[in-house]
Amino acid sequence: MAEPIYTQRRTAQYSGNHSSTEYNKRVEENYQDLVYLYNKYNVIDTKLDQLFSRVMTDHIFLSNAVKDSMDRLKALEATEKIMSLYSYSQLTYNPGSLNGSSLAVPASEQLTFDSIYNYATLPVVSNASFSVLKMYNSVGEQIIPSFFETKVEPLNSIDAPGALIDTTAPYYSLYDRYDRVWKRSVIVDNPTETGALMYFYVKVPSNAVDRKVNSIHLSPYPVNSVDIFSIHYTQASNPRLTSEDSWKPLNSTALYNDDVNAIGQVPPGGWVNAVNSDTIVNSAPLCFNVASLQFENKPITAFRIGMRQRNYIKENNKYIYTYGLSDLDIKVNRYMNTGRAYFRFTAPQDQLIFKVNNVTPKMYNVPLSLTELAFNSRVLYPTSANDLSTIPQSGSSTVFVEITLNKLQDDTVPMLSDLIINYE
């Protein structure tokens, strides 16, 4: 609570202040207030500086710990004679030359990659791609469009009508700002095992419907703590954002049904008769391509995301379940039909790669039966003449895998989330 200031209110009358004592007292009070404010500022400045130093330092070393875990995982994979993608710094568009010709990939054919949503995909035609939710004014400031329409539907006894809710506006999830997240905190007296559940509905703006959105991005908040149990879409012409809108799962063809490795990679809520649940537990940022769903000229008009928070924070003997989104975007992306890139694989220390036996792509939005249409690869081995060859050499510490991605006939844009090589 702010403390009262020194300067007292005075009401001078009759041509101003006639008492020097009063005048001097007022100056003294002003002075004390200034001293207080200056020093309060300095104290806060120091505290903040120290706090941020600590946060930043811890953050850096936590990042290092994560990197260390990745290195250890890399070592574990090496014992199995496999390697995969550990960081997108492995990606390059120009690995060198082959038989005198440059292998550089022209800009229009370079695969797009995203280190937040964890995938490489076809080259995006950036000047023909746009967001239907994120808008900016003429000076580049972000604005929230008036047509942005969402709805939250509580689903269980915790997050239910009448529950004590502390929330920010759902449109906060659109902001490209760290200090704006949509968070919905449900405050209860007793915890439950099921946690808090809700459906979050977001309408595709009607002025964008004809343009056929094909990509949805979401970052659950807080990171790695919210479960996403379903993602559905509707093609109803005027969705009311209720359960009456005939919702279909985004994974409508039940891709990778019951494959535990696909959990977190396919949109949840689409598997049928599966032993395993496709719920994404403690979800990371998610991105799904929905181009293939827009058949028969029936565009997607709204999405429904099922969210669950099982984790609570105890505060003042109350249990607080917080969930929401720190980022949400629906896009109309234009992709080239094909694209290429190279991934660099470096052998573990004191080891050499003599031959790559197998290259396995992980593309969970492409059926296994169509993998060969969507994906091609060839391995390039460095030669003693500083060249690259498709013929295995006498061992090298690095090899390059050239990959080519192709759009499928139904407009599916392959999203490569990992690349695994078996080597000897």
Partner: protein
């Protein structure tokens, strides 16, 4: 208000005096407008400094907080972008050393990648 700034060594290090000088006025004879004007100017100077400091304080707070949350980077990077996004930042105005910071979302994503790989290895062993 409590005079708490002086009671703590860490806090007393931060003591700073305002520009305002307390000139005792005596209203016997003519009133010295020069002194009164000087006082007003000094007061304005102090308030302006405080205003600027608080403004810059807010800016630096935004900058520092945004370090770990580059939400604008939640869009895909195109071909021309630097692989594996990193931000360089000078931790404090007193220090010229630069540190590289990973966005929280990237960190979450990396953790997710690790978890998927562990899952693959586990399933392979089974």
């Amino acid at each position: 208000m409590n005079n708490y700034f002086y009671s703590d060594y860490d806090k007393s290090k931060n003591i700073m005096q305002p520009h305002l000088q307390r000139v005792r006025q005596r209203y016997r004879g003519y009133r010295d407008s020069a002194k009164e004007n000087l006082e007003t100017h000094q007061f304005i100077l102090d308030v302006s400094i405080l205003n600027e400091r608080i403004t810059s304080f807010e800016e630096s707070m935004n900058e520092m907080s945004s370090l770990t949350y580059h939400h604008s980077s939640a869009s895909p990077y195109f071909a021309a972008a630097t692989p594996f996004f990193n931000a360089s930042y000078r931790m404090s105005s007193k220090s010229e050393s630069k540190v590289v910071i990973e966005d929280i979302l990237e960190l979450a994503s990396t953790l997710n990648r690790i978890s998927n790989k562990i899952k693959l290895l586990e399933n392979q062993e089974n």
